[in-house]
Symmetry: C5
Subunit: 272 residues, 5 copies
């Protein structure tokens, strides 16, 4: 296991990974409500926020924009990903080699495995190659642990999510990104299953500040190590405000109420 705590991927052992690979995974639909965020520029800007420990993008975005941000942003290269134009059995393409990721400045790599899919085994073997190559280059490995496909009737079931957390540990991920399993207790199970491997909560689709932060807080309370968040940051009108709040919840142990009121986001008593 890589000494992740000594790398820019983490701060005090914790992480806020800003993810912006939605252009490949979901396409233009994700930018419908925030058309200006189809432009990577303002999202790269958001990634310079001190709360963000690392910024996860596909190769093309890194090539085009990272040279202007290499002093202010830590790059996590997402190595695989695919469009959702074809919606059959889940699978994903390796779009970037570890060597090339290193060359254009990535300090860590990300890799999706759809456990439970027909091609789980193929993805796991591609993960092996990426993981061992990352080890050679001293780069931490983050697994996007997303059970999905024929073997998975309900991807939100805690038992499925905790299994995925364990797979990250077993296969040699330093950090595993999992869905929030619905409760702090279930997240505790996932954290326990991942043992020394770190757990970050997947931000998921956009929700209210409070709902999102409460899940993050529960993750931290459960012993998790942070969050990998995309839409709940860059689909917001004011990404900086929610990043301020994440700074407080993830790194400063603030309550959700405190974070919300400190950062001028929706007040602590808001009904939803």
């Amino acid at each position: 296991m890589f000494p992740v705590d000594d790398t820019p991927l983490t701060r005090d052992g914790k992480m806020v990974i800003l993810a912006y690979d939605h252009g490949i995974e979901h396409g233009p639909a994700d930018f419908e409500d925030v058309p200006e965020r189809a432009d990577p520029e303002p999202v790269f800007e958001a990634a310079t926020h001190p709360a963000v420990t690392s910024f996860a993008v596909q190769k093309g975005l890194a090539e085009a924009y990272y040279p202007s941000y290499e002093d202010d942003v830590d790059l996590l290269m997402k190595l695989n990903g695919t469009s959702n134009l074809w919606m059959g059995e889940p699978d994903t393409a390796v779009n970037c080699s570890v060597e090339y990721a290193r060359e254009i400045g990535a300090s860590s790599v990300g890799f999706t495995i759809y456990a439970g899919a027909n091609n789980e085994i193929g993805m796991a073997e591609e993960f092996r190659e990426a993981q061992e190559s990352a080890r050679e280059h001293d780069m931490p490995v983050v697994m996007w642990g997303y059970p999905r496909g024929q073997g998975v009737k309900n991807a939100s079931k805690p038992a499925v999510i905790t299994y995925s957390a364990r797979l990250g540990l077993e296969l040699g991920a330093d950090v595993t990104k999992i869905k929030y399993p619905g409760s702090q207790e279930a997240m505790e199970d996932a954290v326990r299953m991942s043992a020394k491997s770190k757990i970050v909560m997947s931000g998921g689709s956009k929700t209210t500040d409070r709902e999102f932060l409460e899940d993050v807080k529960a993750t931290m309370n459960a012993g998790g190590d942070g969050v990998a968040v995309g839409r709940n940051v860059w689909q917001r009108d004011d990404p900086e405000q929610i990043l301020d709040a994440l700074e407080q919840v993830v790194f400063e142990d603030a309550t959700v109420d405190t974070a919300l009121s400190n950062t001028g986001a929706e007040g602590p008593t808001a009904d939803e």
Copy 2:
């Protein structure tokens, strides 16, 4: 992202790519009305027209004819392609390596991805290899972005075309060739989605001078970077005339009417 503007692929950041891979993709049928254009010689000649920034062909044509044109034509090697004898689920063969393309004089490479097809993932992984190899050889990469296959009910839908423009950016293409999505507004969406990656409009099947140039003009107005055109040039009786017009529309900001009247093509008031 490659500094494409510093390469012969572009002029003032814009492109007119003349494409002549129809012999593999469509076969002799495309030459039925212009039998003399089955001979690559006159089409290579057309590629010497100053409006043409680059000429896209398959390996065999490049091997046989490029040595006589290397001083007058910039070669874009189309790396993959296949016959349409079998018309099932779309897929395509890699017919040329980047190394060999370089060896026979190509300055850039082209690659088709059928997003939405069963083998999208295989094509994306072949693209990765080609793209990273092209980077090693300092060659720009043009993606033929053609969503097609099981996942794509309507390949002309703007949402599908703009998704394809985004895939070019995400996967590391310097230029993405897309179908004209039907309106300047939709092309603006596509251009926005491609961000720093350039967009060229696909010439498509032969139409009138005016119709073709109006789509090109709308593409340029939308912020696009040019056109990759085949049949609308070499299937015409006088390729030079339409290339003259493209010169004006793409590089000189002329209106379609001006271009048509200047170049002696159909007059500005022609009804169609």
Copy 3:
């Protein structure tokens, strides 16, 4: 055939391999009754018990925990394995290369082959690569010989189990792990079939101390070379006690009764 008797995998030519790859193969379900054993730490501790000749885990666990145990535990890297989220035709992913296993301290490698499955041939060819690579690095090879899949109606049938024992010999495994085939006589057949290749009994799912030890004893009486055991050790409240008993039965030729009474486990006359 490797001189296994000269390696830490064996003691006096015999083995007690402690296996802890259940987190990948079975997931959190296997830890339900013993939640604290989801933590690899106490199981690595158990592996320091003198009865344990080698400890079998997946790459991730080895990376994370082996550095703290390398003086006290002999590492057998299980090279392949997969989740059971997808429960179709059995197959398994190669999650670790032999070279990397060597690098993080493994002295031997383990590899599953599901003979009788659709992909038996693919697994056998991956085994070839691993086996020949292990030979280059002077590492013994243990085959997890688990017939399963389309061709196997009954994986517990002695004829199937003895076939598997033979496959270990033929394919170049130094040790083959097989299910207990139901009787000492059938185990004798398996041992005969494996000839110079060693046989270890697979511990299987948790049972009583007596039942488990009687199968081990019958294996030893049949000429077998030990046991590869997981759940029957680490799912117990007191792993040390059963390991004490294994020490006596495997290495000291004790009867089950003696072993049980000496180690304070359930008495020799316990009804079950």
Copy 4:
């Protein structure tokens, strides 16, 4: 494109390729009427006839017999081929590497592509590797262009055959072997489609001297470059006689009548 005219594959830019790969493609059935021609010896002897520019065989025959003929025969190694025991969707195995072909004395290589078959893409990619490797070794490449399979309802249709001629050009074959498309006019189309790539007519199954020579003559008249013939030579009682006639028709511009009467084959007025 390789300067084929400077290689032993051609004489005056023309070719008579004697093919003898029927033992793999068709098996013993092809030798039923001429049992002594199952012996490669007399067919290698026939290949020493001055009309034969090159002799096409599979690796095994080349290994066994070419050493005795290397001074008198030019070897074209047929790189792929398969039995017809399985008669499903057409595909073919690569049985010889270019490197090995070179090593045992081949001066050129031959490769079959079944355009229109399910595995057309796989064959095209294998062709790419062979073609680029042949370029490295300065060896001309002959494509056996045989559209066949799911996409091809009628492999004798001129449109299919001319498409195949074009594929040879596009993919980088120096010479493409196609079926005779039924008329000189259709052959002219094929020759036009192949442009600088040469065309040889496939000899096909045995017919009369006159019929065979008339097709060859029409091919030459159409601008074709020769013939690749097997059964119409070695299934004849007197291969030398038909080779004498081919010498005249292909290289000396003789009429079929002249060739037939000069060589003592069936007279110019024979009815058939």
Copy 5:
């Protein structure tokens, strides 16, 4: 073609290959009537009989036992093979590389191709790699030519067997092992088809001494080069006696009657 006559695989150009790969191909069932022959030791002993020119086993047996026999036995490494637990469409795994075979002392290699099976092409391509690698190491190549699978309705039909003999020649095998095709005349056809490639008869399942030897004799009379025999030797009570008889029939041109009476096997007049 390799000068096989100068290698230990042959004596006076002829062969008796003792095969003992039944443990992988058929499993324990083949040892049911002769349980002591599951032990490789006595079979390796039998292989020291002077009649045996070469001993064919899988990698595991070679590793475990060959070091004790390398002075007395010539090793033919059988490179591929698979269990019969799965009984669908025939295919086979490559279990040993040529390099490793050489390393552990093999002087020649054996390879099965199931012509007519779905994966015939895959097997042929693996054969190519093995054959070319064997050439580099100066090792003769023996093909186990066993047509089988979807394309083969009757694997005992002479036309199928003679086709297989030809495939050995075409693909570059030095020796092809084929089933006895039912008559000396059919075997003559097969021998003629294989031309310079040698033919050995496959011993097949156990039969009487006389029946077995008569097939061998007919093979020799037909111009064949020997036999590759397993069960008809090691399933017998007295392997030495039948090997004595093979010595006489294969190498000394004895009649079956003479061989039987000389070696004390069943008398020449025995009714069966």
